[in-house]
Amino acid sequence: MMEEVNEVSVLSVHGHSITVTEALKEGDALTFLIVSEKLSGTGEYPVDRTYEDFEWLQQHLFSQEAVPGIHGVIFPPLPAKAQVNASSKVLKQLGFLALGEWQPYCKALETFLRQVAAHSILSKNKAVEVFLTSSDPPGRQKVKKNIFNRLSQAVEEMRKESHKDVDEFFQTQRDHNLTLTVCSKTAAEKFLDVVLTEQKVAVACGHFSAALHLCVEPGEDPDKQAFSKTCVKLSEVFDSIKKNMMSVAENDISTLGVGLDLESRYQEAEKEMLFRRTCKLVELENARRNAEKAKPVKKAAMEEVKKATETEFKHICEVAKQEVHISSPLRVSSHLFRPAIALLGEEVGGVVSI
């Protein structure tokens, strides 16, 4: 299976047609149904995958050491694992993706796959083809070697993260990214609060509406009847207020909520890429120093290392520059534009239905 990793292949489906149609519950785990349209136009590839399959794909993408500059790639972020009866910690981590009956979650997985399929370097990995088209589940072995074991790097990370860059473009990018990561994460969290409160208001309206309905008094007395009618009508009003609120909340989740969530995860992914580059930079500077200070015996070896590192770094920078330029327009057009319009539509619809 490892050999396949290095094989270059062309994706046989339309990247933008990949759809995660639904999530099925099997015990505690979720299975996702994915459909992709064949490039040849002769039909579709329906497959079902679990979260572990997604991880398998991700691991394969991570471990493409042979591809030059792979570290410069901003890897499309995969959402955290979803469980049917998740603990509150998991729910908090998932944020918006945990709401709305897994619809937003499916959307997030779909975006992940589409981004992978659209990526010039990543889409060439055979694992992608296998994932999307093979009717059997792809292999489940854990790929051990990957560049993302960061458990031991916590302290070093802090130091390296603030390492001054040699390239102004990248320094700005790093600073910018730092702010954006924080901002987008905060915005996503606060919006989640708003949406949850909207749902609470909706529920309260519903209770009130139900209670009003019970206020109906029997009797022939015209005043009593008038009062009862008033109560019933008011109950209907509050019921529609509740429906309005719920639909606003749903819409918020599926548009701006998901958008903000994706934005913040994307910023994190970019941050990781820039960090990898910085690490490589540090490595390079060390290699250069070693090469200078090396005793003649080791000098040649050090020079070799230095040259290799330089090449790697150069590749990374090239890839990274491309990645950074591409990411912005993507974010812009897909995330926030649609949400705003949709939000508006909902509000108007809400009013009209009252």
């Binding site: 702010t179 919006f191 909207e198 019970l214 812009v332 009252i354």
Partner: protein, 526 residues
């Protein structure tokens, strides 16, 4: 009226066009669009309907005023079709009007018993039937037609300092009744004065089976905060709540025909300086006395079961009790709704800030501008939510709280009747005893004592007859009162609900405007 034709709200038919599929209301919208013009050509007619009878100052109708405190027509008025969005389904004949004139006091409830057709018309008559009544009313300049006294409570001002400080309110009255000295006058009163009035009325009027509207409750916590300083929002809210409640209290009193005749009420409204009502203080001697009386009453009620001859009273009593339960439940629900809305406010504000920060950090200018705009819109939304919460609260929660207290007063009435019955029964049993004593004396043959006994018997016989009459009188008074109360209640609820819906409609429209303004920015990103 000429002004009706000015009220063309051009944006609405246009904006609602793009949303055809959203609900069946789309068709309703286009129909109403035509109706606007139809109604305008009918002079007056249904456009303002029966909305204008009791305005104190008829300002030229300022329809799209942004003022949230706008006094909407107190009962169902047929609108000129603009915002009948909500109506085709709900209040079939009661079309809501967007806004009407402002009046002096904000959010004044109309307790009037004027214009007969109004209450019934909302549910039973079609628009056509409303036409005849509306013509004169629309032309009318005078504030009241059949409602002769109009009171307002305004200008809360803190008087004094420290723990002896209190808040004085201005009570203004406008009237056409002869029994008052002037047509319009105003005095300053403090909260204990209102309580004092209630005490006096209770003592006197309860014997006649009147339902006396109870004043708002004392609040040591609230008042202490106010005494310390009137600046923070919770004190401001407290004072405003109290002011509104006192106003409603006075309005209910003056709208009650027999209470209005009471000299104490007149004195309260007219007299410049009222002697301080000291027995309303919680810790005074009078206060303790009251508590003891209440306790003994409660015990009495439990021990003596009234022999009810008239099932009407029993049924009514049950109804009142169950209604009180329901209202309490509703009140709790409205409370939780208000709290959630306030929470939504807070969260929206925080979110708006974080969006603004995000907008600032983005360097893509179109996106950054759009994000900042979104942040601003969200800020405005917060305002809206705030107002909506206030509306929910002041309209519904207070209404329900008032009626829970009023139902308590109704029960008090029933209690009065029962006490009258008890008095009668006791008198009867005393009479019985006296007769037995007389019989004994006759048998024992003591002429001098006999005379006394006979006198006592006559005395008690008169008492018995009187108490019986009292009892019957109270019975019929209570009956009348309860029926009147129910009528008032239905009207009250309806007017408040309509006010609420109008306010909500207004806020929804503002909401649409905000989002519409944002739309071009959002489109510009792409």
């Amino acid at each position: 009226m000429a002004t009706s034709s000015d009220r063309n709200p051009p944006p609405f038919p246009a904006t609602e066009e793009p949303e055809p599929g959203l609900s069946g209301m789309a068709d309703g919208d286009s129909d109403e669009g035509e109706d606007i013009f139809v109604n305008n050509s009918n002079p007056v007619s249904v456009s303002r309907g029966v909305s204008q009878p009791d305005r104190s100052n008829v300002d030229p109708p300022d329809l799209f005023g942004e003022d949230e405190e706008e006094e909407a027509s107190s009962t169902a008025a047929k609108s000129n079709g603009v915002h009948s969005d909500d109506d085709n389904d709900l209040f079939a004949e009661a079309h809501v009007e967007l806004s009407t004139d402002k009046s002096d006091s904000s959010a004044r409830k109309e307790p009037s018993t004027s214009s007969g057709p109004r209450p019934a018309s909302t549910f039973t008559q079609g628009p056509a039937a409303m036409q005849p009544a509306s013509l004169e009313q629309l032309e009318e300049e005078e504030a009241m037609d059949s409602f002769d006294v109009d009171v307002a409570v305004t200008n809360p001002e803190k008087v004094g300092d420290g723990m002896n400080a209190y808040v004085a309110y201005k009570v203004s009255t406008r009237t056409s009744l002869a029994m008052f000295r002037n047509k319009t006058f105003s005095v300053r009163r403090r909260f204990s004065d209102f309580l004092g009035l209630y005490e006096k009325l209770s003592v006197k009027q309860s014997l006649h089976g009147c339902i006396i509207p109870p004043p708002p409750e004392k609040s040591v916590v609230g008042m202490t905060k106010v005494k310390v300083g009137m600046d923070d929002p919770s004190s401001v809210e407290f004072v405003e709540r109290r002011r509104a409640a006192l106003e409603r209290y006075l309005q209910r009193i003056v709208s009650h025909p027999s209470l209005l005749q009471d000299p104490d009420v007149r004195e309260f409204l007219e007299r410049d300086d009222l002697p301080r009502a000291v027995n309303t203080q919680a810790l005074s001697g009078a206060g303790f006395l009251k508590m003891i009386n209440k306790a003994s009453d409660a015990v009495n009620k439990m021990t003596i079961k009234m022999n009810e001859s008239d099932t009407w009273f029993e049924d009514k009593f049950q109804e009142v009790e169950s209604e009180e339960q329901q209202l309490r439940k509703l009140h709790a629900l409205v409370d939780s709704l208000v709290n959630h809305r306030k929470e939504l406010c807070g969260n929206t504000a925080i979110f708006a800030k974080s969006m603004a920060m995000l907008g600032n950090s983005e360097d893509n200018t179109a996106l950054s501008r759009a994000l900042s705009q979104l942040a601003e819109v969200e800020d405005k939304m917060e305002q809206l939510h705030q107002e909506q919460a206030a509306s929910d609260f002041f309209i519904f929660a207070e209404l329900l709280a008032d009626y829970i207290r009023l139902l308590g007063a109704v029960r008090g009435c029933f209690d009065q009747r029962m006490r009258a019955w008890q008095r009668w029964q006791e008198a009867q049993s005393t009479l019985q005893k006296k007769r037995e004593a007389e019989a004994k004396l006759l048998w024992a043959n003591k002429p001098d004592k006999l005379q006394q006994a006979k006198e006592e018997i006559t005395e008690w016989e008169t008492r018995v007859t009187q108490y019986e009459r009292d009892f019957d009188r109270i019975g019929s008074a209570v009956r009348k009162e309860v029926l009147r109360f129910e009528k008032e209640k239905a009207k009250d609820f309806k007017s408040q609900i309509i006010k609420y819906l109008e306010a909500m409609l207004q806020s929804q429209q503002r909401l649409i405007k905000f989002w519409e303004a944002f739309l071009p920015e959002a489109k510009a990103i792409a």
